[in-house]
Symmetry: C2
Subunit: 329 residues, 2 copies
């Protein structure tokens, strides 16, 4: 992993053409300073992608014990469990959490990142699913990403999504399905979910069957998702197996299928993905690929702590997945 | 509703024995100030339960456009949908949200409230379920509570929980159940959920049946909850109907019942409470009392906006509930 460049207070002072003491005064809002000087220092900080807190930490090893989370939503069994798990692990390590939901809105994601950075956090854990990478991640703040490749120097905690895609597809092939359809995000969404699709396509190709993926975005309204799944059955009446990229989509597909008179698993086998605790309570019959969500949270907090402690070679971690055998597929 | 006392900047200045200008300087960290003066002003602010931001707003009508949320967890279909809804409504009204999970830990709740108040928020929406009322609510910050009576002057947004309890219990009575058991929080948890229990007890009494409630705390670990429900079947083998205080408990009860060879609804009828969107996707067969969760979020944001706009007579709001007829009860 690339070592982050350690920009020093001197760099800010040099670029602004002022003394280190002046930079320190601007940061701490102490003593008399002309507006012109303040502006020069702020511009230098901005140019160097520097945050007051990062500098303050270097100068005084001041910690705020505050960690920001930016994820798409909390209204989801996977993200709900993940964010609750992160919050719990952070609390055990004496951190408090501030959460921001991006709702798949790149503008909102940037605003939350900016907001959290302004509140002098010690670190950031991100898992928003936007296409574009926010400029604000060009900071030297400790950052961990979950299930999303954000930037080369930011460690990622992810499930073995390729293996998960293999387990789900193989399960349907073993059950005798020949017309298996997959659902996933559009290809331009930069999430490790895409590895599930890759595994599906590879296994289908090896088995000599066509691979067909219906693209469903995370934030598509529920009724629209149902319409996409209805179209799936219209366009592919031969479908006998579906590998859904998450359990919520699996649930919706089963509802749409049943409303069309299809019996699950007799006429149609369905395998989901995620296996969150909340889903296992409400729908234990669902066959699904379970991610180690609590472990994911614990590992992410650990990687963040390593960075906060000053380590620069923090490695990405891939976690195992398990097939949970239910009765739907 | 009781009018909140409008403490003025003068009060802080008078108590600290300094001029208004000095208080303003302390607040904005401008000009030279002795440590002794700063301390006097901060002590006066603390004694008057005053927050810099509240004063700053009065002086300059400065808004931070930041609203804090404090709820037990996001790992729950009800709270997940509610917090996502609040976040969406707040975003539409140009606010950003900072979330803190209390996880039913009073100390954690206080820490989050303190943290959020220190970050100069414009308002707070709370729904934590702790026994004790935090001191930090003795602030003049705009606050709205959801499903919890916090303090007389704080408006509450709640479902018509008594009506919900009636609908659920009546449904089971109409289906011929004679041995109906209820689950709810312990009685000392100050939530409006208790009204569901009251309705259950009233209807059972009217029908001439005993009312039996098994107490399950929100943060009880899942395996422990299952053990409580197993005990319920051991101690009351005659049970033929269960009114669960939330859909997650209903799901767990159905799992425990099925594992003991009970058929639902033939041998045991189960009615839940909440009807969150996520639950409806995964478990559409569950008969449940649906709360208007999205409306709850919209109303709470509206009541908060009224307070931020300076209104002092903001009334509590009760929202209707609906029985969703599934096949479990």
């Amino acid at each position: 992993m690339e070592k982050r460049r350690q920009v020093k207070l001197e760099d800010v002072a040099a670029l602004a053409g002022v003394s280190k003491t002046t930079v320190s005064r601007v940061l701490n809002n102490r003593g008399y300073l002309s507006e012109a000087t303040k502006q020069r220092v702020h511009e230098a900080m901005e140019q160097l992608h520097y945050r007051p807190n990062a500098i303050a930490r270097q100068l005084f090893t001041q910690k705020t014990n505050l960690v920001g989370l930016v994820f798409p939503t909390v209204n989801d069994p996977f993200f709900g469990q993940l964010e609750a798990g992160l919050d719990e692990c952070l609390y055990e390590n004496s951190y408090r959490t501030l959460m921001g939901n991006s709702q798949n809105n790149p503008q909102k994601e940037e605003q939350y990142l900016q907001l959290l950075l302004n509140h002098q956090i010690d670190g950031l854990i991100v898992g928003a699913h936007n296409q574009a990478m926010p400029d604000y991640l060009q900071t030297n703040l400790p950052i961990v990403s979950i299930e999303r490749a954000v930037a080369p120097q930011i460690p990622v905690v992810a499930s073995d999504n390729y293996r998960g895609g293999q387990l789900a597809t193989q399960r349907l092939l073993d059950a005798g399905c020949q017309h298996i359809i997959h659902t996933n995000y559009p290809k331009d969404v930069m999430t490790t979910n895409q590895d599930r699709r890759k595994a599906y396509e590879d296994l289908m190709s090896q088995a000599g069957y066509p691979a067909i993926t219906y693209e469903v975005n995370y934030d598509t309204p529920m009724e629209e998702k149902k319409a996409i799944f209805a179209r799936l059955f219209d366009e592919h009446p031969e479908v006998d197996g579906i590998f859904a990229d998450n359990d919520t989509n699996a649930g919706l597909i089963i509802q749409v299928a049943k409303a069309r008179g299809r019996r699950v698993p007799e006429d149609l086998k369905v395998v989901g993905f995620d296996g969150a605790d909340g889903t296992r309570i409400l729908f234990p019959e669902l066959t699904t690929v379970q991610q180690s969500i609590d472990q994911m949270a614990a590992v992410a907090v650990n990687l963040l702590e390593q960075q906060i402690a000053g380590q620069t070679n923090v490695e990405s971690v891939t976690l195992p997945v398990t097939l949970l055998e239910g009765t739907t597929g």
